[in-house]
């Protein structure tokens, strides 16, 4: 097959496996003669659009958009690997953390129906708060918004806390917020999916070798992260800087990096339970993910599990 394989990913820390796979040449090594085309995407919806409309063959993205892509495309995509776990926490104003009472607070999440949003609402409900009933005695408002915006909103007093991924929670801590919950603590085994790799089902069927080559590259990249964390971190940080022109503060990168686990384990149970919660919250119509995950190729190349 002489068509290039097209892979999409984001320029952020949770995508370190993909970044390293490209920058370290691991994907290319395994693909051999087959060309690799990369698309650096900046927004989840665009990744889904590209995947479903056949503008990329595979994409790294969050579990919620991945589930969405699967459900909306009637199974046109298949989840074949995980890429990262953790790195999501709930931080809030110190006064609130101290009193442990969030009644009347405004808490930000990154996007309506995204995994952190679903987790936040679930947690709040679990704790006995009335979500989005601001007038109630124990009411809490969830205000989904762009993650970066929440930092400014916190600093100017417009929100009281946020349930988010790195590096935003670290930035919020810099602005004075304190940790309430590390989402890892809420999941059995301390792990839950934050980045996964999905592939167009037709590509998986027709070009299984190429898909397996990318997976093998990803496994190698994960190994490299394990064996040389600081070197990998430097490569990833410099890629992000080159891509976006944004030099991240090394201390921030270090802190965020250590709160993320890089693993090819898709942690499908956590994806499924996230989807079920989303259905309860009315974000999704169905949580029927039968056939979404196919770990055959990953097993083939010796990925974790």
């Amino acid at each position: 097959h002489d068509d290039a394989i097209r892979v999409g990913y984001f320029p952020n820390l949770a995508h370190a496996g993909a970044i390293l796979g490209v920058e370290g040449g691991y994907f290319a090594d395994h693909l051999g003669d087959v060309d690799l085309t990369t698309e650096v995407i900046t927004a989840g919806p665009d990744a889904v659009t590209a995947l479903v409309s056949d503008k990329v063959d595979m994409a790294f993205l969050g579990p919620a958009p991945a589930v969405n892509a699967y459900l909306k495309s009637d199974g046109d995509v298949t989840l074949i690997s995980g890429a990262s776990s953790g790195g999501v926490r709930f931080v809030a104003r110190p006064e609130l953390v101290e009193s442990g009472d969030f009644s009347g607070a405004k808490i930000a999440s990154p996007a309506l129906g995204g995994s952190p949003d679903v987790a936040l609402r679930y947690w709040l409900g679990d704790e006995g708060y009335a979500v989005d009933v601001p007038d109630a005695e124990n009411g809490v408002s969830v205000v989904p918004q762009e993650p970066g915006q929440s930092v400014g909103a916190y600093a100017s007093g417009a929100i009281d806390g946020a349930w988010m991924h790195e590096p935003f929670v670290s930035l919020l801590e810099d602005a004075g917020a304190e940790e309430v919950v590390d989402e890892r603590d809420l999941w059995p085994g301390g792990q839950f999916a934050t980045t996964v790799l999905v592939v167009r089902t037709s590509v998986l069927e027709e070009r299984r070798d190429d898909v397996e080559a990318v997976l093998a590259g990803l496994v190698d990249a994960m190994d490299a992260i394990d064996s040389d964390p600081s070197g990998s971190r430097a490569i990833v940080a410099s890629f992000i800087a080159g891509q976006t022109g944004l030099e991240l503060d090394p201390a921030l990168v270090g802190k965020a990096w250590s709160s993320i686990d890089f693993t090819t384990d898709p942690l499908e149970d956590t994806i499924e339970s996230g989807a079920r919660r989303a259905v309860v919250q009315g974000v999704l119509d169905s949580a029927d993910l039968d056939g979404f995950v196919d770990l055959g190729p990953l097993t083939e190349v010796g990925g974790s599990e």
Partner: protein, 290 residues
């Protein structure tokens, strides 16, 4: 041989109605004309839907990417049933009207000041035009810092988006006033506000309407961005959020319904407000009779 033209207006059919009604309003047919005005536009939309159905039938894209008109209509009906369609129209529509009205007010004052005060024009004129190009999202951080998650934040983004456009339109309108009319006003003793009220504003009206029409678009686009500041129940779910939700959930029918709402509101405003207003203004001045 000389050519002979015989034309009898008595023979005019309904199909000549549009052509002759420009300078010849006919009593009794006026109502008919108002009802008939949106017909060609509706026809154009129908043709577009037809093309869309055709493309859909060719299966160039999977249905999840390019849904059929029927599916989108179904989504629209669903959204209408659970009230979110009406809510979105009401939330965004009322915000747009209020924000636009404020913008027209502020922009008109600013435009008048720019048009009349030479130094102000030199200092702020280029800045106002440059501001026109500022994307609405750029103002979002400032709006949140200043106003938090309130309607005030949304309105401030709308204002800063639409005011320069109104001001620019008015300045352009004033600039193209025939100097003779200005002089006539001077001779009649119009000064300061009376000059503005009785000469400059009416003379600049056609250009001003063109500017205000574009300002409506700026206001609406800014509103769509401002509505993404946050989706919170206090703020209500507008068309902007509907669009955003559709994008986030990769729900193409929802995206298309939201786009349809934008078009619908645009059509209603154009056919109901700007179009008739402009035609009236031009007709009374004997313009655009071609």
């Amino acid at each position: 041989m000389p050519e002979t033209t015989t034309i009898s207006r008595a023979e005019d059919g309904l199909d000549r109605l549009e052509q002759t009604s420009g300078d010849r309003p006919r009593i009794g047919r006026a109502g008919l004309r108002i009802l008939a005005a949106p017909l060609p536009a509706i026809g154009a939309v129908a043709v577009m839907v037809g093309v869309w159905q055709l493309v859909f039938s060719l299966e160039l894209q999977p249905p999840s990417v390019l849904p059929s008109p029927a599916e989108v209509a179904e989504t629209a009906v669903d959204l209408a049933r659970d009230g979110s369609l009406v809510e979105a129209l009401w939330v965004s529509g009322s915000r747009a009207v209020v924000g636009f009205a404020l913008s027209v007010f502020v922009g008109t004052l600013l435009g008048l000041a720019l048009a009349r005060v030479r130094l102000l024009r030199a200092a702020l004129g280029p800045l106002v035009t440059a501001l026109l190009a500022m994307p609405a999202v750029a103002w979002v951080p400032a709006a949140i810092i200043a106003f938090g998650f309130t309607d005030a934040a949304i309105y401030s983004v709308v204002l800063v988006g639409a005011v320069p456009s109104v001001a620019n339109g008015l300045v352009a309108g004033v600039d193209t006033i025939p100097p003779l009319l200005h002089r006539a006003g001077q001779v009649l003793g119009a000064r300061g506000w009376t000059m503005v009220r009785h000469v400059l504003l009416p003379a600049a009206l056609p250009g001003y309407i063109a500017g205000v029409r574009q300002a409506w678009a700026f206001a609406w686009r800014s509103l769509m961005a401002a509505e993404l500041i946050a989706s919170s129940p206090q703020l209500g779910v507008g068309v902007g959020q509907l669009l955003q939700q559709g994008r986030t959930l990769f729900d193409m029918p929802r995206v298309i319904v939201a786009m349809g709402l934008v078009l619908l509101i645009g059509l209603v405003v154009e056919l109901g407000v700007f179009g008739p207003l402009e035609r009236r203004v031009l007709r009374l001045r004997g313009m655009a009779l071609r």
